[in-house]
Amino acid sequence: MTTLTYIGKPARRVDALEKVLGTAKYIADRKLPGMLHARCLRSDVPHARILRLDATPALAVPGVRAVITSDDFFEHGLYGFPVKDKYMLAHQKVRYVGEAIAAVAADTPEAALAGVRAIICELEPLPGVFDMAHALDPDAPQVGPDRPDGKHPNFLDHLIVRKGDPLPVWEQCPVKLEEHYSVSPQEHAYIEPEGVLAVPTREGGVVVYAPNQSPFINQANLAMVLDLPPQRVRVIQPPVGGSFGGKDDIIYESSAQAAKLALITGRPVRMLFSREESLIASYKRDPMRMHIWLGADSDGTLRACKFEGLMDSGAYASESPFTAWRASIHAMGAYRYDACHVDITCVYTNNGYYGAFRGFGNTEVCAAIEQAIDEMAYKLGMDPIDFRLKNCLRLGDETVHGQVLTESVSLAECLTTVRRLSDWDRKRAEYAKQHAPSGVRRGIGVAALYHGTSLGAEGQDYAGATIAIEQDNSVDITSGLTDYGTGSRTVFTLIAAEELGVRPERIHMQRPDTDTAIESGPTVASRSTMLGGNAMRIAAMNLRQTLDYAAADLLGCELHQLVRAGEAYVGPSEEPVPWEEVVRHAREMGLALSAQGRWSAPRINWDHHAGRGTPYIAYHFGAQVAEVEVDMGTGRVRVVGLWAAHDPGKVIFPQGAYGQLYGGIAQGLGYALMEQVTFVEGYIQETNFESYLIPTSVDVPEIVGTFVEAPYSHGPYGAKNIAEPAMVPTAPAILNAIYHATGRRIRDLPANLERVLLGKDLSKGGSPRACKLGLGTA
């Protein structure tokens, strides 16, 4: 194995300097002369027919320059993938509180609001579906689109995994568990609210600055609904103030609205969301209700798992069919079973809408299955880590899906690592001796996970990259995958530096731009390092080969005689030749000093009807231990310690990888204890950070994180993934620790004060008022 110079070594994030100086220009920091301000009229009822929509009165408001409705888009702006069920502005019906109906562009934000208020919009309220458990009732109001196949219109998808028949096995097991679990919706709570800036071009096209995750998808949507050729639509990603899965569909809509207004007025148009608008209108993590049966032999061997999950997609499909698929694949946890059935059903309701969020289905099911596994350990009288070690997937095992794991399997090592780091055995024994019914009690809990890398059988998995040496001998690189805070631009820079043999400071990683980068599929599923990293590695290797020819020509030697000393080339004469000299010679030779790299993941197949196949090419494994203090008088839970061992294959950018780990754990802590989205008759009750609480610096403990590196042969330098899996096991580890401390199982997330203290929520009621205030309609 060759020694690595830049990979895995301390490095500076390429965009950190402008961010610490405060000079980075986020979308709200960008403005142009003559720029207009846009704002949407949004529905303040959860389900209604649009009886009358007359936008023209808005145009009489001083300062208003344009107003649009769905009639202004091609085919009313219908879009969506994998299900085309949403409009860029509501058409005929509204299905959730906050859905955009019309958009106004005006000289000032105040004039835009006055314009919105002048629009005549008559809504006929319809009965809604507010409980996912009743979405498929025969008499449930229709929320989803008409279906030609005779199925209930509120039915969205049903995903299965099948191995044998678990219920007969379960019946015969001496140790059985059957329990129900649920998880709340979760808000991404990126600190930068949504925004977009659209600039019309002279040839009738538009340039859109959009803090989205996937600019090429935005471009394709824009070309479709604006009825423009794709080459007239350019999407550029400015610095993004956090996303976590949350800045896809909602930004595509804002992009389409601002772009259309820019095309009509011939002026730049910027749309910025308030925090309230963000919380009310944007999609969230889906809530789920789960029913789990587990069966084991008395020696602790897991035999059977049956998992039934109901997932709320809200008013639109967004990514939910894919979320439900990933949930189904991971629902049983990283364990061996003789028999396993998973059924995930996904339905439409009028509770906002749900889409992608870090972990993407696995965060939801892991919160349930890792509690159920813990409960089984107690039933068996086994230590929770011993029980997991006895049953966890190991090298050479076949998963319940029928996939044999042939490399990069490290769960047992992750479990033993957190056991050691957390001083597990001593604390388990010590805390078990606590008897005080009141006061503060301590507990310690564990959870494990696996998480399929990249898209898997969800879709075509490919990425592209470019690299070029500029006239000043700097190196420009691009990727079709974007960096919304993740650090992937730094990962790509380090990979290009490593392969080309130049210092990272020489490299300029360009911002994502559909005009300059190669389309690479969506930036989701923690796929940037593996997919984009491989593409960048190939691009740099191709350019390196060109320079090697130039160096051999310059030094009068064979390619194999070349060695590198830092950036310099050295031939048989042992006199180093500076890299710049080699580049100059390559130019003289007429060689192309640019290259592309493209990489596709190995083909895999999943049979949706059989519920079997190879869902992902490889898996991330990890384990976390949480230690809590529970105040038995108030129900307050404080997480006092957190230990994490994760296997990302190979760490490329250490500060970035640790940042992903710590940040993921903080989001998982919020999911476990405080992050609650409450819909009451379709109205979200949490409309700003005073009611939607996310962890602060005093809520998150000092985290001890470590990486177990089990290289994956198809990953760049062995790298797999880290971003999503970091948060997945945190919530169940905390809930298991609460049980250890208190003897109370909180099977419904989040474990707020009432649930910890009383075992149930106190009824708080709710009202539409916060939504109406936030939307400006009160």
């Binding site: 301390p10 500076r12 994030r13 965009d15 950190a16 300097l17 961010k19 610490v20 100086l21 405060g22 000079t23 980075a24 220009k25 986020y26 709200a28 920091d29 991404h188 709570a189 990126y190 600190i191 930068e192 609210p193 610095p239 993004v240 103030g241 956090g242 996303s243 976590f244 308030s274 925090r275 919304y484 805070g485 993740t486 650090g487 250490p654 500060q655 970035g656 640790y658 940042g659 780990l661 710590y662 940040g663 993921g664 754990i665 903080a666 989001q667 700003n688 950070f689 005073e690 996310i694 962890p695 602060t696 610096s697 005093v698 998150v700 000092e702 985290i703």
Partner: protein, 157 residues
């Protein structure tokens, strides 16, 4: 109305309506966009600046309230060469920056703390950051960066 105050060590006089916030004054009237608008209700701290030596949320102050006071924003935090100062440099070195939207506020919170408590414990650093939300980092590397800066400043002659 004319609002006069000291901004990043220089006197300024700016004509602005009396009913705008300090954040709007900074961003829209003085073109200083380092302070960010994250919630507008004083919960997230992305708009934090230092006013007469105290950390304040600029979204909660009316512009006229700063008349006669001394305001320092992220644009006023620089090293002697105009580049990053030691705290900003440590934010980079310790990997404390991800999406970056909270970072100007975090750096202001760190500087405000170190003004009054030159050698804070990690718990004291965490307490000082409790009004600044970060969704990316889990705070740990931010605490690392502030702690390291405190140690380095103490060793300075």
């Amino acid at each position: 109305m004319l609002i006069e105050f000291t901004l990043n060590h220089r006197p300024v006089a700016v004509e602005a309506p009396p009913d705008i916030t300090l954040l709007t004054l900074l961003r829209d009237y003085l073109n200083l966009t380092g302070a960010k608008e994250g919630c507008s209700v004083g919960e997230c701290g992305a708009c934090a600046v230092i006013m007469d030596g105290r950390l304040v949320n600029s979204c909660l102050l009316l512009a006229p309230q700063v008349a006669g006071s001394e305001i320092i924003t992220i644009e006023g935090i620089r090293g002697p060469d105009g580049g990053p100062n030691d705290l900003q440099e440590n934010f980079i070195a310790y990997g404390a920056v991800q999406c970056g939207i909270c970072i100007p506020g975090m750096i202001m919170a760190g500087e405000a703390l170190l003004m009054h408590n030159p050698r804070p414990t990690r718990d004291e650093i965490r307490a000082a950051l409790a009004g600044n939300l970060c969704r990316c980092t889990g705070y740990q590397q931010i605490v690392d960066a502030i702690e390291a800066t405190a140690v380095q400043r103490e060793l300075l002659p």
